[in-house]
Amino acid sequence: MWKWLHPYAKPERAYQLCVTLQPYFLWPGILCLIAGSIWGLAFAPQDYQQGDSFRIIYIHVPSAILSMSTYVAMAVAALVGIVWQWRTAFMAMIAMAPVGAVVTFIALFTGAAWGKPMWGTWWVWDARLTSELILLFLYLGVIALYGAFEDKQQAGKAAGVMALVGVVNVPIIHYSVEWWNTLHQGATISKFDKPSIAPEMLWPLLIALLGLALFIAAVTVMRMKNEIIRREYHRPWVKDLAARALGDDHAV
């Protein structure tokens, strides 16, 4: 069934695919992000309870959702790499990891910033924020483990195992932190939870979500191109590529 994917196990083909896909991710992504942000931040109606401070959800919610999805995508790449031994799968995994970590940080930062007008403090141990923080630690662990190995294929397998252990643990962590929160916070209703949301508020949110998703894909693709070049620099096809880029006949 997945035969069409097999050519991309080769770094050269994967590189070509990244080059092809990049503009389709980058420009629509930036466009949607700008559109969603301006719509949400300036034009969407005020929330009846929170006034203007709720507008941060147009950044916070997409980044929180996508921080989770990127981790799952990273784990899928790890699984493909471990089971089928694809170098490119591990390259994709490590391309995604820092992007996901930054998005998680954005989610944490905007979540905390939202807390200031809500609860008057810059940080609360809310269930969602705590889960995001732990997710950030999981990302950082994968990145740190990858960096600790000299042989990057070995690094990919090791970091891949941790990514898989992490992905199995993410639901467990999520529900245990939620449960812990109810124990210690009592019945505080968090505005982070799903309110019934008016359509005028929903559309900019969806557009921002799509925009951020495309943008994450674009940055991942850019990082993957770099990773492929970094690891395959001694191959003839990379030397040709560099020569063409430099515009002369000398190999670099």
Partner: protein, 209 residues
């Protein structure tokens, strides 16, 4: 073809290609002397043969069957002596050998072990923690496994390290006897094998940039 066959092995370590499409066969009654400069991939090749490392591509066959399918049978017929001695410093030589034989499903008879250690010049040192022995003596304890387990295939990585001339002679003689009894050995060595080791085939690995 009977024996351990390598079929188009390619090895990449740290993103550097060590060798591509390497094929050869190690048959019973054969000694292969694996040669090449430092960094050519000799240790990597030996580790691929044992199964500790996986090749980038290619496969291994044992008596025409894929090695993965008959891994257990191969391991029973294999002794690997690598760079690391495989003995624990806090245990004595006898204890190390006793546990190793238990792990490898080999009968351990204390008297036989004492005899082997004696032949290797370790009389009186059998029951002290191995870390108190010299490097050469520790290497001899590691090599004593070659006398304790009946196995066809010997994969030896620099077995002569730290051995003195007596030790080298002892090992080479034992290797010749093993090959004469239809054993198969592949080994590397910094110094060339002498006549003591008997007839051998050379396998050369080039250093690739």
């Amino acid at each position: 073809m009977a024996g351990l066959a390598a079929d188009n092995l390619t090895c990449i370590k740290r993103d550097r290609v060590l060798f591509t499409d390497l094929s050869f066969c190690l048959s019973p009654g054969q000694l292969i002397y694996l040669r090449g400069p430092n960094g050519a991939g000799k240790t990597s090749l030996l580790r691929i043969l044992t199964g500790l490392s996986a090749p980038e591509s290619g496969q291994l066959l044992l008596n025409e069957e894929p090695l993965d399918k008959v891994r257990d049978r191969f391991n029973q017929q294999l002794i690997y002596v690598g760079h690391k001695a495989g003995i624990n410093g806090a245990l004595t030589a006898m204890e190390n050998l006793r546990f190793w034989c238990a792990q490898h499903s080999t009968d351990f008879i204390a008297q036989q072990a004492y005899d082997v250690l004696a032949r290797l010049g370790l009389v009186g040192l059998e029951d002290v923690p191995v870390r108190m022995l010299s490097a050469g003596q520790q290497r001899r304890v590691a090599l004593s496994r070659l006398w304790l387990k009946q196995a066809t295939y010997w994969i030896l990585d620099e077995p002569f390290t730290a051995l003195d001339t007596d030790g080298i002679e002892l090992l080479e003689t034992h290797m010749r006897e093993h090959v004469a009894n239809q054993g198969a050995i592949i080994t590397t060595s910094h110094q060339p094998l002498s006549k003591q080791a008997g007839p051998f085939t050379e396998l050369m690995l080039e250093y690739r940039l």
